[in-house]
Amino acid sequence: MVRERRSRNQSNSNQGNVHSFYKALKESNDFEIYTLTGKTSCVISYLSTISEIKTLNESILPTLKGKEFQSLEEIKANIPVENIRISEKAEDIKDRVLNGHIAIQMSQKDKQALLIPAFSTKGRKVGIPEVEFSVVGPKEAFVESLEVNVNLIRKRLHTPNLIMKEVKVGTVTSTRVAVLYIDGIANPKNVQTVIQRLKDIDYDQIIDSSFVTQMIADNSNSPFPQLLDTERPDRVTEALVEGKVSVLVDGSPHALTCPTTIVEFFAASDDYFLPWHLATVFRLIRLFAVIFSVLSTPLYVAILTHHHEMIPEELLATIISSRADIPFPPILEVIILELAIELLREAGARLPAKIGQTIGIVGGIVIGTAAVDAGLTSNVLLIIVALSALASFTTPVYQIGNTIRLIRFPFIIGAQMWGLVGVSMVMVFYIGHLIKLTSIGNPFFAPLYPLRFTDLKDAFIRLPFDKQSKRPVQTRPVESTRFDPRETNKKRDIDE
């Protein structure tokens, strides 16, 4: 998707002439254009659906009606609204009118226009995070407005070095995309790469940040997300301070942070709000859950199809008695159940919350029990599949949960073909793929490969804050020291 930007520009025809885009706008019923009569004669035009009429009524019209003005400069000096500008460029005028400015011209033919910002903000209020909920910690989540989202970050980061660069992306939507980073911490190379890739996007619409994720990813054919997607401003703040770059898209309640690594997808915000030993144990449980979720059904298939010798005698009795009446081979049994679970998930995701619960009960309890009673699946497998579905929900980032849903199927096929060797082969393939993968040019599989021992302090385990004296090497920060560990970790003798 990212490729050389073609010099195609639909707005080219509009350049130099204000009236051609006015002509296009006049087709819409919400476009108002009229000549004001009275002391001052001028043309006012605006889009009534996105401009605040209050500004017009309270600040502009009284001024215009009260006095006689000869030029736009005079009007500009008298209207009590800030950030007014006079522009001659048709492109500029078009952009601003479409963004809710009120344009005033002395006459229809005039090239110059006075642009008064009057954008009416309508949208959701800042709510609590629903996808990345945490029990402790801040409970604000991004909304669809870029201004509000940047505000949520800025109010947490009181530094003049927090830089925001805006890029317009999408040939039709021309969506505002903001790149945030902290100057002096973030590596300029990463910032440059992100901005360049955003500029290179040539697509007609950017509806959500996930569009951007897919378009600027290093390898868009990979099932693994290469930009971390979050709805928590505190998480973005944390990433920015670590030297990462954040991308916010207007209209999307999710921010992207990059460069990222695979282990970061398994780190929850809670990990930093809890004491480090608890956080470490919970993080390890989560990692175990992910491995279990991916490998449990493939191992079931592998062992029951090819290596029944491996099951100890006592356990064998349990499995045999549960599988005695099942007419299908393990692979078919597993595929049926896995598909059933996926169906439930998809149905649950599409339905409103209240009906979703019903589906959960119908699907989980009724169908599950009935399937076992009817002798279609064994209850051992039902337990395994249900547990692995449960385990896949423990991932703190929603996107990686989807990846985990998907990558299990090649394992199942491998297991059916060559048992444990097949599972191993698929694993080698994924490991190779992950080693090759990069996130904005930085290795994705770090800190495992390239081995970065210092970054292991916050990967599978999380060490206490006084051990986190360095920012992660992964992002190649300009300034890598958080604090001087010699001062903080000075050993004290008894009774000092």
Binding site: E309, V421, V428, I435, Y449, L451
Partner: protein, 371 residues
Amino acid sequence: MNKITRSQPDANVPENLLVTPLFALFLINAMQVGVGILGFESYIAKDAGYDSWLSILIAGAGIHLLLWMIYQILHDTNGDIVSVHREVFGKYLGGFLSFIFSIYLFLLSLVVFRTFIEVIQVWIFPRLQLWFFTAVTLLLIFYLVHGGFRLITGLCVISVLLTLPLLLLKFFPIQAGVVTNLYPHIDHSILELLKAAKTSVLGFLGIELLFVFYPFIKNPNNSKKWAHYGVFLTICIYMVSALASFIYFSEKQLEQVTWATISLWKIVEFPFIERFEYIGVAIWLYVVIPNICLALWAASRIPKRIFKVKQIYAVACYCVLLYIGSILLNERRELEFLNTFANWIGFYILMYIPVLFLLKKLRGIRRKADE
């Protein structure tokens, strides 16, 4: 000297493809530990019985010496085997020798690949559809080699990290065995010990790959100690495996078992799993795949350097040859022959290192004298 470097610009590797010196440990170790370790005990015990652990130490010391020589040779040239050969033997003879080296590396990958498939056939799937399994595995290998040296290095790291815990399983046979087997017998002559050492050297084959990947290491001088640590780690792994087998098996039994390590996995027992050898062999895939990939990568890198062909064609070509080779070699006897043959060449390649070392030093002295 300058002229030589200029005539072969591709010996220089772009900065972003280099790996840090630390990885020399993993590269060397992953290449040395292959399929050989699964069944080397019976071979060395043939000559020196329970005393053969001494031979492992002797062989290990020899390997450390050879590694030192390799670093000396490469340090002076600051290139790979192709540059060394060209410098010492001239363009044509040097190129020919490098090509033989490439074929040897290919042979090495064939031996590892085919032997591992045999392990799978013997221990897991007696009726394996050879043509299909080989094809899929080779596709996987091709994909990985296609990823380049950095990817293969990463695989080596994962392979070492993943398989080191397997050594803990040696606890089971040690628990069940007779520790007194280890009391020094010293009932074998020095000659027998040396003979066993010669056999165990074959287990340490793999350091010669340094000849090819040396230019890919950042600050290769710093990698020296890591490479030596890598060899040392290999010696430790071999020692532990040998000692565990000696404790568990009697001398007579040792001669009977072909795959001692896998046999030892058989007795591992957990409440939820038995017959650990299935898992062991599956995990061993992580050892074997990087091994084959590295050998294949190195084998295909040499033609690129000599003939200036694209490496991907060389890899594809070798993969096809690997496929044909492993399909044709179907009987245990033929495999045995292939193993012996490759070992024989490997041994002479190792012996060739001191020769090259001396030639290189002589040249250095002569050049100094000329100046």
